[in-house]
Symmetry: T
Subunit: 144 residues, 12 copies
Amino acid sequence: MNELLLLNGPNLGILGKREPEVYGTDTLADIERAVGEEVADRGWRVVAVQHDSEGELIGAIQNHYDTVGAIVNPGALMIAGWSLRDALANYPRPWIEVHLSNVWAREQFRHESVIAPLASGVIAGLGPLGYRLAARALRERISD
Amino acid sequence: MNELLLLNGPNLGILGKREPEVYGTDTLADIERAVGEEVADRGWRVVAVQHDSEGELIGAIQNHYDTVGAIVNPGALMIAGWSLRDALANYPRPWIEVHLSNVWAREQFRHESVIAPLASGVIAGLGPLGYRLAARALRERISD
Amino acid sequence: MNELLLLNGPNLGILGKREPEVYGTDTLADIERAVGEEVADRGWRVVAVQHDSEGELIGAIQNHYDTVGAIVNPGALMIAGWSLRDALANYPRPWIEVHLSNVWAREQFRHESVIAPLASGVIAGLGPLGYRLAARALRERISD
Amino acid sequence: MNELLLLNGPNLGILGKREPEVYGTDTLADIERAVGEEVADRGWRVVAVQHDSEGELIGAIQNHYDTVGAIVNPGALMIAGWSLRDALANYPRPWIEVHLSNVWAREQFRHESVIAPLASGVIAGLGPLGYRLAARALRERISD
Amino acid sequence: MNELLLLNGPNLGILGKREPEVYGTDTLADIERAVGEEVADRGWRVVAVQHDSEGELIGAIQNHYDTVGAIVNPGALMIAGWSLRDALANYPRPWIEVHLSNVWAREQFRHESVIAPLASGVIAGLGPLGYRLAARALRERISD
Amino acid sequence: MNELLLLNGPNLGILGKREPEVYGTDTLADIERAVGEEVADRGWRVVAVQHDSEGELIGAIQNHYDTVGAIVNPGALMIAGWSLRDALANYPRPWIEVHLSNVWAREQFRHESVIAPLASGVIAGLGPLGYRLAARALRERISD
Amino acid sequence: MNELLLLNGPNLGILGKREPEVYGTDTLADIERAVGEEVADRGWRVVAVQHDSEGELIGAIQNHYDTVGAIVNPGALMIAGWSLRDALANYPRPWIEVHLSNVWAREQFRHESVIAPLASGVIAGLGPLGYRLAARALRERISD
Amino acid sequence: MNELLLLNGPNLGILGKREPEVYGTDTLADIERAVGEEVADRGWRVVAVQHDSEGELIGAIQNHYDTVGAIVNPGALMIAGWSLRDALANYPRPWIEVHLSNVWAREQFRHESVIAPLASGVIAGLGPLGYRLAARALRERISD
Amino acid sequence: MNELLLLNGPNLGILGKREPEVYGTDTLADIERAVGEEVADRGWRVVAVQHDSEGELIGAIQNHYDTVGAIVNPGALMIAGWSLRDALANYPRPWIEVHLSNVWAREQFRHESVIAPLASGVIAGLGPLGYRLAARALRERISD
Amino acid sequence: MNELLLLNGPNLGILGKREPEVYGTDTLADIERAVGEEVADRGWRVVAVQHDSEGELIGAIQNHYDTVGAIVNPGALMIAGWSLRDALANYPRPWIEVHLSNVWAREQFRHESVIAPLASGVIAGLGPLGYRLAARALRERISD
Amino acid sequence: MNELLLLNGPNLGILGKREPEVYGTDTLADIERAVGEEVADRGWRVVAVQHDSEGELIGAIQNHYDTVGAIVNPGALMIAGWSLRDALANYPRPWIEVHLSNVWAREQFRHESVIAPLASGVIAGLGPLGYRLAARALRERISD
Amino acid sequence: MNELLLLNGPNLGILGKREPEVYGTDTLADIERAVGEEVADRGWRVVAVQHDSEGELIGAIQNHYDTVGAIVNPGALMIAGWSLRDALANYPRPWIEVHLSNVWAREQFRHESVIAPLASGVIAGLGPLGYRLAARALRERISD
């Protein structure tokens, strides 16, 4: 068990091309690489999964119970992704929710995440750096 | 037309391994078998479908208009599965909604099902037995 | 202890004559007989109680702590029967809430039951058959 | 760039067979043909996509950034399709939301569309004709 | 069938002694007599029933299906008397809801009556005279 | 001062032709005549005013402070006619609110009247007869 | 007039046997005795009434207008006991509302009492001692 | 009967001078002309009515029951124009609601129209073109 | 351009006779004179307009775009005067909202004004003096 | 550890001069003395602290962890004193919330206390006597 | 008694440096001077107090009961400053609430002031001039 | 300008002794040291400020406009600390909100922070490590 799950939800596959004034110019590949660097000294490998479909995200969680932990950016599934929530409720390891933008500075419907109550922690508004911080947090909090 | 549709939604494929203190230790296969036994004397065969994706569940409904009736456990799609609701609105036969757990004893967001108003009946909180009761109800209410 | 409590609330004494298009033509006596048949092989006898008054229903619960379990149709007390709820909170055995009609297909004020969070399970919309299913559920879930 | 995207969401693939008293008897193929006729003199070809899954609809949008514009019938995803909304937020061209039925004459939960704030316009209640009107609107509003 | 049901709910038995600045000084007997006078020329007799208990009121309705119509002052059961509502739903004749005080000029919780949607009409704020007007309305609207 | 103000709001001028299944076939002239008959023995004359505009209704109230009392059917101004409310707040005599239909049996937005808290009484659901009852109430409650 | 009314509502007759972890092990008889001791030096006798039915509680209030004051534990009628409220509105003497448990530390629906606005004071969360404190308060506040 | 009613509400008489960045530079006369062209081949003449007062709009509807259909832009009366709604409820022919701007992209209070549930269809956000589309829809949907 | 618009809404024409305990004894003429005195040294003349009808108020605004600024007391149109709001949105000059009474010390429905967000400022509760203060504010804030 | 903390919040230092018709004429010193008398036989000394600032109240709590218990009147901090709540959450001893007035008989915003869920009990509406009752409750409930 | 209290709440001490595009460039000293000039001819002296802490503001009010009146800008304490409200409830003289910005043109949470119901009047949106208008209002309304 | 502001709100001064099962055993001094280490290589010094009073926190922000950025843990002021919000709105540098616990896994009233919309980012649920991550984020995002 030396893999870290990096799970990205709808519309995150096109990062870099997606509303760059909101989400920045880094691509998802850039982020995956950065996360990998952050946890390299723990000997962890990053398993990066991105889907636009809630069903496939659920499948990915079920297939990766044997990871050390996870970083989850649910995208807009933070709003009504109750099935994703149930999938994460059964995930046996620590995980951290990440949002690129500061969701509380945006529309009201982005102000409460249905998965956040189950997360170990939440990091929002810090762009791609948020993923690295989440990786570091898992690195420090998960014992061998 | 001698098939009964048994439709299970997100996170129900991992029954037995999923939060067993909430959902019990029976697997979905166990449930399918039990339902089959319940309706065997009517000569009905169970068509069991499980998907984690709302889209695929909709497809399954569209492909099984010629079943005698259905048992539907929408999982967390009870909360915001409006598309599933629309699919069921077009399903031409009686169907019963089943939940393993007593959803009213859980979080507030599980207290109202968007598909329930269209169901013939609802059975909740009785674990795998609920599926058998639903099967029996269909068996008794559907005339040849 | 070989009695099963069958508790029916307001307006259920006139079943058969009551809005038959909603509640069907079975009388309460029909239902009591059917429930009795369902649990006969467990050696259980049905104690059937119906009251239009919440206070008398509470009294009935207090007088039957030594039953094996209960089937409760609260009628419209599902809406604001908080005292009934408190009485059931002290009932020491499993019980199942039953509604003849599918309450979610009706007015908004029938969509949430104040007693449901305390029930072992809920069965709604299946008419008199719902009582039989509840009886069977208790028969299978209660060990000798 | 001479393609017009015609995007239809859940349960719209079975038009003609779906609750005809609500949605009419035209099939989706009929609609696609009618839209094609409406924009033929602009030299536009219709790319018709229908999916029951929100994830696949998002993919279709990402794959068709190079269309001249779009007509989008989200079906019940109008209610909680926040991921679809985010996908459309990144679509670079004008698009119009169409509903076959008058959603405001139906249940309360169909009264506000989460994607409408991003549309160029909304047309509802006019049946298949609504698509043709949307096509004409795009034809007149999009300059070469 | 020549009886008119006059049904009064909780706290109306002490009229005359009850907060006279709100409810006036007429007693319930005064009101019964006045209603009787109003319908005397139709040959109707008034059956006056008053109970403080919702359950007994329900019983009274069930026992008087063979009346020509009813005048119902539910008292505070207008607020949460859902069981009374269900009893009235099964009452086969026209009935009118009466309130002595103008309930909309009082606390917010008296502004909507749960039984009013089922009434033929509502008269409020006119004191004991309201009962007479209700009697006259029934007298004119009910054909022999 | 021997005039009774009969004030009717928007859409009440076309009574008889207006949704007769809801509002009946009596014309406003019929109602004015009936009210006149009801108060004739008090020597009162009916001043009948109908306007579709809230502003003109306000003017009518200001011009008739010297009437003995008023019957007011605000039509849909019951919902948001705050200016009408303020005009009635300054009317120095008793007045009664009348609605032809039972507004609580209709849409939710007709369940609370913004003018009702200021009325002496409210009569609803009794059709044109409601006006006569209101006239009688004023006749009996207003002393010479 | 030397009697103090001690009025207890639904489910309080079984104190001692009722969810003892919430309500303690004292019986209602214990409480009545304690209250009696508290007011003995004023020469007051305790009239203890307990009913599970709101209607009977209303009757008890009407029958005891000549008491010096009252202690009222409405049980769950604090939530929707509007008829009880109206009965207490006509009670001519000071009275204090008592709850055994701290209702604000429990479910949301126990956070506001419909009778509290009419009480002289409210004491909650102090178990049987709360009744004694209420007795003392009445003893000190009521002059001979 | 060969007239089409074109009804415009408050603040629409100054189109062209009114917040042109929101409502465009076309005048109402331009729109009336365009609508006329759209329906010319049906032999229909446009009767254009604009009022800032709800009362006068109601009058216009009552005076034009013999038109073939109507296009209605209620302006801000979409928010609380309940009297206008009642007037339209009695209009015997098909009519379509039009808004120049996309009301869902604006303030929350513009997100639900009180008249929309009664319309045959709604077209919003397409500027003056919306009126032409509405005209075409009526032209195609109304049989001779 | 040397005119100041003084716009008063419904029920303000009868100031002095209107609920004097709330609105005082000054007449509207008194107020117009006082405002005139306040701005006389700027060489401004007061154009005073009062209407009970929202439609006419809208017309007045459209006819006075060439005033230096405005003082607007919307009366009860502060509550649901959305059309008035739209008219003011197009008014090209500074304007101040005035209320005679302190609207926040009154009923809840007077606590938020739909036109206030568009005003330069709001003055409430200071009686007729409020108009003079508004006049002074415009006098000091509007440059020649 | 023989001290009892008596903590009073904003505006309670001026008791006796503060709205005497609501809060009475006793001063805070009177209350402190009365509480002292109540607990004298336990050998407890009263440490009385009053601050108008939430921050200082928090400090006082932190400085008195070694008291035997506390009486807390939060004044208006009952409404939004979340920081005070967090301070009390860490206070290791029993404490009772006291209000001089019956907060449920006052404005809606005084009907729920944010600190009450953490208290051992709540006493309200009994004036200065409430403090003495609280003292007695602590005296009886705290063992040596 | 010849002092006027000028009370400013949190974040108002840094006026001039604070978000100047919202609050302007005048300093608090400028405002104090202007208010002083406004009331000089009454012989009043301005006592200017500013605190960022609600507790200290409450203290300032208690210390200045002998002022002729007050101008109060509560800053953001308008939103949840319930303790400040209670302090002002005991202030024996007229006072006026002032806000520099038009709070209704800003975020929703600034749309209702908890202290406004107790003020003599409210002036908002007119910048530093608002203080001068408030001073003038007090000067004219307070008799010697 | 080489100082980093570390601002901690109410109840954070007692970290280590405060509900350790929620907030951990690290003291505030531990956290200050850890943050200092994190930013040492930028040559930044940590200015640590903790207050239980909102007023003093506001003062601290005003006194530290010349810091490079800030880390802010508002404690329970996240709920109603509108004055703190206004102070932060004027803070000229980037700042990050930190919470030790996962506020969304706790009571509903901790689910939305009034200051979050103004933050550069938010980190919650990661205990003392959250401060270090915030420090790192500022270190990487703030250019020299």
